[in-house]
Amino acid sequence: MAKLTLNRVAKDFGTGRAAVSDFSLDVREGGFLALLGPSGCGKTTVLRMIAGFETPSDGSIHLGERLLADAAQSLPPEKRNMAMVFQSYALWPHMSVAGNVGYPLKVRGVSGEAYRAKVGEALSTVRLADYAGRRPADLSGGQRQRVALARCLVTSPDVVLLDEPLANLDRHLKHEMEETFREFHQRSGATMIYVTHDQSEAMALATDVAVMSEGRLLQVAPPAEIYARPEGRIVGGLIGRGAILTLPVMGGERQLEWDELQDALQAANTDGADILVRPEDVIIGGEGGCRNRRIRAVRG
């Protein structure tokens, strides 16, 4: 396993608007990167380029020293030892649940007892041991998603790509699955990239959070860091709750105390910097009065 490097990667589908552009990102060996961003910002496209389904129209992708793809050549997906949960699940309708889950093992030549044991284990991790013989068409949406999950985690891939893998699961299962990811990550040491819209998921699991918008990378940082010091309005808006105020505050300070903020709030001019106010930083001092609030605002 090695560092995954995306170097000024771009992808244009020829629709006039590049889906991904100038995207540079390092995911450290064994890192767990959460990729956040609004719908349609290019997250799936990034994953698909890492997996090798799309070739970047520009830039290059490396795993350690190994070139995975650039605009001219590309290592085929089957040689990358990666695994992915597709946003659309991509289950094979002609195979049973067990067949779907076991297929990556079969391809790797695992058979017999080892095969059955691994498939069984993967299925019970996603709570589908009873459904091994069903066809995907006869499953509920969340069950399908779990089959896709089990298939993704059944082998020991170098890189695991998860495209909103928990979107259709209920809270309990979601937590369980998060636990599973954590364990899997620790056990296997795989590099994981996890696309989600749920930032609490992201915060809970990731060693790093990357935020993108309209095909561009806005910020990468550890969760606490990105929460505390989001760069720009979009990142601030996506990460955690809070209100963003546009206030005429000058200077390089990244943290404002209440009195500074109050001054700025009372100024008539509302041009200036974006100020993010987190709810936990708002502490009501007295009995509902407005005067004594303590606010720590973070500059975006």
Binding site: A51, G52, F53, P76, P77, E78, R80, N81, M82, A83, M84, F86, S88, Y89, A90, L91, W92, P93, H94, M95, Y103, P104, V107, R108, R135, P136, A137, D138, R144, R151, T155
Partner: protein, 564 residues
């Protein structure tokens, strides 16, 4: 209560009766009429004689063997072309697929003769290579293998068209998931693509198989010299020595052919049972494979196969049309356009035949499509015994030799229809009805397999939008199965265009078809005229395909099978 439907039934209540009545008219009535006459012919006994004749069982054996092997060959060729031309980035796709459907246009007899000559002592090709066998050496094509090979060549386009439609809806992400699982291209193919395209493959195999069991032209030319009789050639010889028992014999032979094809259908049914091919949440992104260096292997293979399948027989035809008599070597001195002149400007029958065949083939293809879409809808939604029986009944006519169906229709319609007092016999309508009956199976197969692959949610979404049956049929279902519908129309049109055996018995003054005209010219010794007419038919089809190409922009995606 008005508006309600019985449970478990998403179809309009009239649909089932409609299909049943259609099948009754097109399949059951003619077959029953033939069976009645057959039974009457045996009224004084004799059935034992027929059944105990060794010739019957050897013909049954040869029919099965040649059909099975022929089907396998057509599967190999048809699948090769379908997979490479639909899924890969091979060069010249358009041209290859354009040409690949043409061999269906060349009458089987012509193909068979062209191949015999190609591999015989007088073969210009073998002579040029100096490996021509000496005069009198045995002809390798006069054998079970030869018949099967020609069956395969003749029917490969059927497989291609039936399969292509399914491949076009192969989901991209399924293939990608397999590749990411580490599967090599070959494994992706065998584990994912092949099983997912199984409905199309099986449909292709089934049409190919029933076409083989009913084929007359090829075993007549390649089989009889080697004393290999198949059931259709046997049927034909029964007609040639007519006795009071002939109808009985023919009915028995037909029943055996029907049983073979129903057995084939049951195997098909088994193969498909319990499989689910619906692609969930189909988004429309279809799979594509890059060939890479393999291209340099496959491109020549495809062109080589194509040249054997199409170029050789076609040039044999052209040569036959350009020389004044059979056996005269084609040189600049002997070459003449006289045959074309004669056909185009002097033979009155040419125009009649073109008009008749094109309108018959067009009407058959288009009208049948309407019936087929309805029937396929019903057959895939109902999974009970009744629908399986109906499916078999649709299948039987095409599996019988055309001459048998023609006789059945004469028996049915020679006298004016009771109550209505209309006589169809001797008009073009009887040919049309017989075509409906005969080509029903051809038209149905690709459409049914497309229905098998359709995610029902797509129709459900339309229903909830308020679209009634016909509305969603025309807006959602037909566009979604457009490739299959296109395949169905083109298959039927091409085969019907120079169909011979049915119209041979049903035509009368003014209703000659192209097949009849070509056959009659050939049979009268005017093989140059026959070849010239055949060449013209092929050219006409090419022109029509080009016209379709111009229209393709306005048609749903995938309808025109040689476009990607």
């Amino acid at each position: 209560m008005p508006g309600y439907v019985r449970t478990g039934n998403s179809q309009p209540p009239w649909l089932f009766p409609f299909v049943v009545i259609t099948v009754l008219i097109l399949s059951v009535l003619p077959l029953a009429r033939l069976a009645m006459v057959g039974i009457a012919a045996f009224a004084n006994g004799g059935i034992i004689d027929v059944l105990s004749a060794p010739s019957l069982w050897s013909a049954t054996y040869y029919t099965i063997v040649t059909s099975v092997v022929g089907t396998m060959i057509s599967l190999v060729i048809g699948c090769l072309f379908a997979f490479l031309l639909t899924l890969t980035d091979i060069r010249g796709k358009g041209l290859l697929s354009f040409f690949f459907v043409l061999p269906m246009m060349i009458p089987p007899q012509v193909t068979a003769l062209a191949w015999v000559q190609m591999s015989g002592p007088s073969s210009p090709l073998l002579k040029a290579l100096a490996i021509a066998p000496p005069l009198g050496s045995p002809q390798p094509l006069y054998s079970v293998g030869g018949i099967a090979l020609l069956y395969g060549v003749q029917h490969a386009p059927l497989v291609y068209l039936a399969l292509r439609a399914g491949l076009m809806t192969l989901p991209r992400d399924g293939v990608e998931a397999a590749r990411l699982s580490g599967a090599s291209s070959f494994r992706v193919f065998s584990d994912i693509i092949l099983p997912l395209s199984l409905p199309g493959i099986i449909a292709g195999a089934a049409i190919s198989f029933v076409s083989c069991t009913g084929n007359f032209g090829i075993p007549a030319i390649l089989g009889i010299p080697a004393s290999i009789f198949t059931l259709p050639t046997l049927v034909f010889t029964k007609f040639s020595a007519f006795t009071s028992r002939t109808f009985g014999d023919v009915a028995v032979l037909s029943a055996i052919i029907a049983m073979i094809s129903v057995a084939g259908l049951m195997i098909q049914d088994r193969a498909l049972r319990g499989r689910d091919y619906r692609v969930i949440g189909l988004s429309g992104a279809s799979a594509a494979v890059e060939l890479g260096a393999w291209r340099f292997l496959f491109t020549p293979i495809l062109w080589a196969i194509l040249s054997f399948m199409l170029a050789a027989p076609f040039f044999a035809l052209v040569a036959g049309a350009l020389v004044p008599a059979y056996g005269v070597p084609l040189t600049f001195k002997t070459m003449s356009l006289h045959a074309f002149e004669e056909i185009l400007f002097r033979q009155a029958v040419t125009r009649t035949a073109f008009v008749n065949s094109i309108s018959l083939a067009g009407a058959t293809a288009v009208c049948l499509l309407v019936v087929t879409v309805l029937a396929a809808y019903m057959l895939t939604r109902r999974k009970d015994a009744a629908s399986r029986i109906i499916a078999s009944l649709i299948e039987i006519p095409y599996s019988l030799p055309g001459i048998v169906m023609a006789v059945a229709f004469i028996l049915l319609f020679a006298a004016p229809i009771p109550f209505l007092h209309i006589s169809l016999y001797g008009t073009i309508w009887i040919i049309l009805i017989a075509y409906f009956s005969w080509f029903f199976a051809v038209s149905l197969k690709p459409v049914v397999s497309a229905f098998h692959q359709l995610d029902p949610a797509l129709e459900e979404a339309a229903r909830l939008s308020g679209a009634g049956f016909f509305r969603r049929l025309s807006d959602i279902i037909v566009p979604l199965i457009a490739p299959a519908a296109g395949a169905s129309v083109i298959l039927v049109f091409l085969i019907a265009c120079n169909e011979l055996t049915i119209s041979a018995l049903l035509w009368s003054a003014g209703t000659q078809t192209l097949g009849v005209a070509i056959y009659n010219l050939d049979d009268s010794g005017s093989s140059d005229l026959a070849s010239a007419l055949s060449v013209l038919v092929v050219l006409m089809v090419v022109i029509m395909m080009l016209l379709l190409e111009l229209l393709a922009k306005h048609l749903p995606k995938g309808v025109v099978p040689w476009r990607n």
